[in-house]
């Protein structure tokens, strides 16, 4: 018999709050955590707002000061998220069997602290302004503290988290850009299903709250240069104008169902279908965009053994880049458009900003909390939606009751798509 996988712990930190409880309350009240940036904080990069975590104090969670010194802000957030998830899961004394407990994270490159590099760079320059390899080897390198590189490597969140919680089982880090934490959830699910572990921490974290981190999206022209206190970040909207970035982390604890029941764990939801594919296109024109997105959603539903009618709501991948949001809308129209009562649409990136490596795990956290509490995250007015009637956003008290199945999408253009189906674990399951 195949092993079933459930979510038993959620640890989130983002612009709305540190901790999932206040995050859920913010989501229900549609209270965004995005705030205005200080004038010229990022020089000429035209950013007006950002999902900043105010007053982040990692030492409240991470006692070992030596460890803190070799963690950049992103890694600190990942580790804090893991402590929050562990507290939430009731695993306060730690995992019972370390060799059957593992980790899978979705991460990527982190931004270097420029002031930390400054002396190295200053001593690696020739008489002009060019990089001098010989001078770097002879002088510049000596200004880097020996563990400098470990502060920024993509695999270090998994390293620190596995040390912090004594996770000796399978460990991996997937570098799939914005799809990373969705890929991590998928792999963690498969690890448990294949009986290689009973518990898996999984998720992602990132912070590009600095000039280096914002340079590339600005150069690509995908940052939202507008921003007002009324509408700081429209997503899946006709007025979508790009990304408003946000920082933070989200870690889920996945567990084999019987293992969770034996320790009377609180169960948020079951993962009943998780699928992935590349962003391939064999057709041309508008149909090209929806092809792979339709396929991944369809496959996830197939693995969950449900048809489109059974889905209560879709947590959108939508990130405010209009072209990408339109591609998602075309795929949803194709798969669900013939239904007289299609799933409600849920959009949440405007609460926290787009969190990159943490986007999918944050979205899945909200979907899991929705199933636990029997309520959808209200998602604003239908007026600006990219999909027309009968598709509507979840309102304050709308949606079928009780909720049974939620679909969570994470689409990354040019790379990979993921869809995850969550199910309420009812009394008959």
């Amino acid at each position: 018999m195949s092993r079933r996988v459930v979510i038993t712990g959620i640890g989130t930190l983002n612009a709305c709050s540190i901790g999932r409880d206040n995050f859920w309350k913010s989501a229900l009240d549609r209270r965004t955590g995005i705030s205005e940036v200080k004038q010229d904080e990022f020089g000429p990069i035209p950013v007006k707002s950002y999902g900043r975590i105010q007053d982040f104090q990692p030492s409240e969670f991470i006692q070992n000061r030596k460890s803190l010194k070799v963690m950049c802000r992103d890694i600190q957030m990942a580790v804090v998220a893991s402590y929050l998830a562990r507290q939430d899961s009731g695993l306060g004394d730690g995992v019972a069997d370390p060799e059957r407990s593992g980790i899978c994270m979705g991460e990527g490159l982190f931004d270097h602290d420029l002031e930390e590099l400054s002396e190295t760079l200053r001593h690696s320059i020739d008489s002009g302004e060019d990089f001098d390899e010989r001078r770097f080897g002879q002088e510049g390198m000596s200004y880097l503290f020996p563990l400098w590189l470990l502060k920024y490597l993509p695999n270090m969140p998994a390293c620190h988290i596995s040390i912090a919680h004594n996770l000796q089982g399978p460990s991996n880090t997937l570098t799939e850009d914005g799809s990373g934490s969705a890929a991590a959830i998928e792999e963690a699910t498969h690890v448990i299903q294949r009986d290689m572990a009973d518990i898996m921490f999984c998720g992602g974290a990132e912070s590009h709250l600095n000039a280096t981190g914002l340079l590339r999206p600005h150069a690509l022209g995908i940052l939202n240069p507008n921003g007002s206190s009324d509408r700081p970040y429209p997503v899946f909207s006709k007025s979508g104008a790009g990304l408003v970035m946000g920082e933070g982390g989200a870690i889920l604890i996945l567990e084999e169902l019987e293992h969770a029941r034996k320790r009377n764990a609180r169960i948020y939801a079951e993962i009943v279908g998780v699928s992935s594919c590349t962003d391939w296109k064999s057709k041309s024109g508008p149909a090209a965009a929806s092809e792979s997105r339709v396929a991944v959603m369809f496959d996830a539903l197939g693995l969950a053994k449900i048809t489109p009618e059974a889905v209560d709501a879709i947590h959108l991948s939508a990130n405010g880049i209009r072209e990408e949001d339109i591609e998602e809308s075309l795929a949803i129209q194709e798969l669900f458009g013939k239904l007289t009562a299609p799933p409600k649409l849920v959009r949440t990136k405007s609460l926290t900003g787009y969190m990159g490596f943490a986007a999918a795990s944050t979205e899945t956290s909200l979907a899991a909390m929705s199933l636990k509490h029997g309520r959808l995250v209200p998602s604003g007015s239908n007026e600006d939606s990219l999909l027309k009637d009968p598709f509507t956003f979840a309102g304050k008290n709308t949606g079928r009751s009780p909720l049974r199945y939620l679909l969570v999408n994470q689409f990354t253009k040019g790379l990979c798509h993921h869809s995850i189906v969550l199910k309420t674990l009812g009394s008959g399951s």
Partner: protein
Amino acid sequence: MTARRVVITGMGAVTPLGNDVSSTWKSLIEGRSGISKISCFDASKFPSQIAGEVKDYDFSPWLKKSQALKDAKKNTQFALGACQEAMEDSGLDTSAMDRRRLGLYYAAGESGAMLQPLVRANHQAFDGNCKFHVEKYVRERLSTMAVSEEIEKEPFSTLRHLIETFDVRGPA
């Protein structure tokens, strides 16, 4: 349900011992080492001056096929070559298969930091009192940044090229 068994049916390699599987294997059997003095940059003042460098790898045929690869770093170049050899070695006719059943699992690394732009921007941004001027840093970086080249340093960039080149449609 019976567990599915897995076999290896194709291999490709680009290594310091050779730029394909057979030359790599030949070097191994003959006891040759691929470690040599570093030649791809001036390491004469580094504490260690030896490494396993891939030698004489010609990426130009790839560039003739696709300009999208013009900024591909060495890790991507090696991955493409190794993947091409593995596909040919396997004899797999991908035109006849459901490409959703063709997946890719790639162990990604970084391509190495591009220090030249950072050095120049740092020189501009820090004044004599070691104060950092963010506007000068941003202006200098933007004036020299080729964003397509910048993206190539990300671990996922190799994955992107492999997916596109070999039309992988399954999990990746």
